[in-house]
């Protein structure tokens, strides 16, 4: 799925990485616990989260993810946005809640696990 399709499906705003919306991603995960993301996520390229702090951006970067979606109308700080720009991450924000946002993407074809790695 293209990142711009995620944006459309979730009616999301683009906060960083506008120029990367054409990139493809193949899997996603949702969590508010960065500890769990670091421990259990393998090749998921998209993180949906309701947590807003700089560690979300660093966790995504350490995991080689390409896109973070903030759910429940959470808005990242300017510092988080500039960190994301520096590391080439796409940041999206949607008013939808976690369950709904995940459901929409899942039924749109973005599954939780796919062997193929995202193209960066």
């Amino acid at each position: 799925m293209k990142i711009c399709t995620i944006k459309e499906l979730l009616d999301a705003r683009v906060l960083a990485g506008e120029e990367r919306l054409g990139n493809h991603v193949y899997s996603a995960c949702g969590s508010d616990m960065m500890s769990d993301v670091l421990a259990y996520v393998k090749d998921q390229a998209v993180l949906l989260t309701g947590l807003v702090n700089t560690q979300v951006i660093r966790t995504a970067e350490m995991m080689d993810m390409v896109c973070v979606v903030f759910v429940r109308s959470k808005t990242p700080t300017p510092e988080m946005i500039s960190l994301a720009e520096e590391s080439g991450l796409v940041l999206l924000a949607t008013d939808k809640r976690m369950y709904e946002a995940c459901g929409i993407l899942y039924s749109g074809g973005l599954v939780s696990n796919k062997v193929k790695k995202a193209t960066v």
Binding site: M33, S35, D36, N53, T54, Q55, R58, M62
Partner: protein
Amino acid sequence: MSEALSFRFSVDGENFTSAGQASVQVKKNLRQLGLDPEIIRRVSIAMYEGEINMVIHAGGGVAEVKVAEEFVEIILEDHGPGIADIEQAMQAGFSTAPDKIRSLGFGAGMGLPNMKRYTDYMDIESKVGEGTRITMRVNIT
């Protein structure tokens, strides 16, 4: 034989927001050296978990990363409270992190087991009241 390259960072224990900065920088440096992305990812995750631990459990410390010919070595040293029972600390799910840390997305007790899982070698030296020194290696070949 080329000298091993090394990077050193001081990790600020007062500031949760800046935690992980050293790991981000190391990731950039290793990319510039052209190391395999999967190696870089393993080093980054292990170091990031260790760096977060130094901030939330030990009041900060020093991180050193050496790139040798056969492995990348990460040494994390702090003068925090130390770990009384290392075996227990290594168990998945064991955590002494306060609720405040959990509300920030950490403290699931998965850090040390994760560091072990992502590295080829890990050693913890710790003395209660003195501090902790963790050495990890990820093989390059």
